[in-house]
């Protein structure tokens, strides 16, 4: 146990918490847009898996992680549109149709992997970029400024998302459509249009989240995300539908995962108990949901399809 409380381990855990938070953060930011507009996309995990495979496969074929990231984003965008068709146009019950998308992604990504790749081959990962000057700060530099480009971009996306949601016309429309679609409709805002866009943003970010996950690990395998997409959905509640809150939640989960990983590597936790440790994120989520539900309110129109009265 004493091995755990050293400075080197602490710095390593913080750095790895930040890395592990990134896929959760990206997927949850995308889901935040969707939920603010009144659409709950439960298929995030499936889209992440498809994005992860697309990213992995593209890097395997081209050797370029950036092309992989692009492929993951494009696949995510396509599935964002599909999610919108199902939830917005066809007005399917969102709590269940998303499970269908999840199952499709889970099966399809595995199917494609077995058909096109077969045995796992490691791929090129993102290079680490040290930020000049800042990375030279003792301890701090190692924790925060020695990451790959997608990590920095994901965290820069947080203030951007806050700005878009709170300070732009589009963001105002998103909130209006999520709180009171009838009123927004009366004012000439296209409820369907806004929800399509938020689903496309959500899909793209979920695809990218999967891509970052697979390319950072340098591998793909069946069910690579291990339910990260569902945790991401819960993080949106955890963060009370605000990008900053979502980021804090993602960091907390990254931290919990990093600590569990480190304890396992140092064999502080016996292997038999690792399954019990793996329950922690889900249990923390449930407790957090209790806390959040008492203080914050979900967008009023969340999961309600918009039907214009004739």
């Amino acid at each position: 146990m004493s091995d755990f409380f050293t400075l080197a381990v602490f710095i390593g855990v913080i750095a790895s918490a930040i890395r592990l938070a990134v896929p959760l953060l990206l997927a949850a930011l995308g889901e935040t847009f969707g939920q603010r507009s009144g659409v709950l996309n439960l298929g995030v995990d499936g889209i992440m898996l498809l994005g992860a495979f697309a990213g992995y496969y593209a890097v395997l074929k081209t050797g370029n992680p950036w092309i992989g990231l692009l492929a993951a984003g494009v696949v995510g965008l396509v599935f964002g549109v599909i999610s919108a068709v199902i939830a917005v146009t066809l007005q399917a019950e969102q709590g269940i149709s998303g499970i269908g998308i999840y199952l499709f992604g889970l099966g399809m990504s595995d199917l494609l992997f077995q058909k096109l790749v077969g045995t796992p081959i490691p791929i090129e990962t993102f290079p680490v970029v040290e930020i000049p000057v800042l990375s030279g700060i003792p301890w701090i530099g190692e924790m925060f400024f020695e990451h790959s480009i997608p990590v920095y971009l994901a965290f820069l996306a947080v203030p951007l998302a806050t700005f878009v949601i709170n300070r732009t016309t589009f963001g105002m429309n998103v909130r209006a459509v999520g709180e009171h679609p009838e009123a927004a409709d009366t004012l000439g805002v296209s409820v369907t249009g806004v929800r399509y866009v938020t689903q496309m943003i959500g899909g793209t970010l979920a695809g990218l989240a999967g891509g970052v996950l697979a390319i950072s690990l340098g591998i793909f395998q069946q069910n690579l995300t291990n339910a990260a997409g569902f945790i991401a959905i819960a993080l949106v509640y955890f963060g009370a539908w605000r990008p900053m809150g979502v980021m804090l939640g993602a960091l907390l989960f990254g931290f919990v995962n990093a600590v569990v990983l480190e304890l396992k590597t140092l064999e502080v936790i016996p292997r038999e108990l690792s399954n019990l440790a793996a329950m922690l994120p889900a249990i923390i989520t449930i407790l957090a949901l209790v806390f959040v539900a008492r203080r914050f309110r979900a967008p009023s129109a969340l999961t309600k399809p918009f039907i214009r009265a004739d």
């Binding site: 709590g95 269908g100 449930i286």
Partner: protein, 394 residues
């Protein structure tokens, strides 16, 4: 809705919509098969023959339909009370674990006592896993979709821990193979075989559960309360119904039935032990999700869920036959399964629209048709679409 259809035509169309949805999903699957380089026509012929083409196939279909029916009946109860239970996967796992533990640690006794006891343990396990999201929703307004998904994750890790550790077959440890499975469970707990060498009493248990659920929902005060809460929490509250208690109970009952499905899976399995491959789907075969689809397919009516489950059981058994015949990886079945879920759920809206139009017409004529009232998801529980909207109830 301006298309001029007669009452009968609309009714017929409404009931055929889910079937059309499944056909659409299969057509989509055919495209996937072509892309995978397989012959879709050969594939689907194999699928039909594999599901319904022989006595063995029918037995396999009935056995596959059993957990779907049990889960589906539980889903009917939850959805009728306007509660979305996505946690049947985890509730099945808990039912499997509780009943397995009961079978391993109960003193030996004749089957006549043993079987009811382990089944009750399964009910209990599922009930516990349904009670948690129920009480969280009722008391703390925690969204049940999220809490049940999280409990699915907890359940699978609990299963992996128990089957790799405390419950592992001692022989697996001795031999060093350490396959995560229990020892062969006591024979007294095996579900009795009623036909051939595979068909056990599980399907009878499931059909009885469906009948009991019908009786509960439409012939008891409790069922009335469940449906009243589902239609309008507000009005139910005014009528003096204890809404919070009813919501908790709906999820607990729903979970209990899924738990029973888990117990039937364990004691009706051919190896007569509980095994894990590390995922929930490995144990449940996605029955926790497919049961939802079967329930929607059956119009959220417990008795209609019986044929709906049979059909879905056939779809899954046939899918496996298809996959073997055209030699594509089994992941195809999970993907196809996802497509079916999406198509059926997306089509459900159109069915309820047709039926609600039907109903409003008849209401005007002063002749409300009871069956139309029990027709479809949103029809029965208009509040289903705003399950998050709990503020006004407190």
């Amino acid at each position: 809705m301006t298309i001029d259809l007669t009452h009968r035509q609309r009714r017929f169309l409404a009931y055929s919509i889910p079937v059309i949805a499944v056909v659409a999903a299969l057509l989509f699957g055919a495209i996937m098969l072509v892309l995978l380089g397989a012959d879709p026509i050969e594939g689907y012929v194999e699928m039909f023959v594999g599901a319904f083409g022989s006595g063995d196939a029918l037995v396999a279909t009935i056995l596959k339909a059993t957990p779907l029916l049990l889960v589906g009946v539980g889903i009917v109860i939850a959805f009728r009370a306007n509660v979305i239970n996505i946690g049947a996967e985890g509730q099945m796992v808990l039912g499997g674990l509780f009943s397995t533990i009961a079978a391993l640690y109960l003193p030996s006794m004749p089957a006549i006592f043993m079987i009811p006891l382990v089944m009750c343990a399964g009910l209990l396990g599922g009930a516990v896993w349904g009670f948690i999201p129920g009480i969280l929703k009722a008391q703390y307004r925690v969204n049940e979709i999220l809490s049940t998904i999280m409990l699915n994750i907890v359940a699978v890790q609990l299963m992996n821990y128990l089957l790799r550790g405390p419950l592992i077959d001692p022989r697996e440890v001795e031999l060093g193979t350490r396959i995560p499975q229990t020892a062969r469970l006591p024979q007294a707990a095996d579900l009795p075989i009623i036909y051939g060498d595979r068909l056990h009493i599980g399907p009878i248990i499931a059909v009885l559960a469906a009948i009991a659920c019908y009786y509960l929902l439409w012939r008891t005060p409790l069922g009335y309360e469940l449906r009243a809460v589902g239609l309008s929490e507000h009005s139910a509250n005014y009528a003096g119904i204890k809404v919070k208690r009813t919501i908790t109970l709906a999820l607990t009952l729903s979970g209990a039935l899924a738990g029973l499905a888990g117990a039937v899976l364990v004691f009706g399995s051919e190896s007569h032990r509980m095994v894990t491959d590390g995922s929930t789907i490995g144990f449940t075969g996605s029955a926790g999700f497919n049961g939802i689809v079967a329930a929607l397919f059956g119009g959220l009516h417990p008795l209609w869920t019986i044929p709906a489950s049979f059909l879905f059981g056939g779809l899954i058994v046939g899918g496996q036959a298809l996959q073997r015949a055209v030699q594509v990886p089994s992941a195809l079945i999970i993907a196809l399964n996802g497509l079916v879920v999406v198509f059926v759920v997306a089509a459900d809206r159109y069915r309820s629209r047709l039926l609600s139009y039907d109903r409003s017409e008849e209401d005007r004529a002063g002749d409300p048709d009871e069956e139309a009232l029990m027709g479809s998801a949103r029809d029965a529980a208009p509040g289903l679409t705003h399950s998050f909207d709990q503020e006004d109830s407190s």
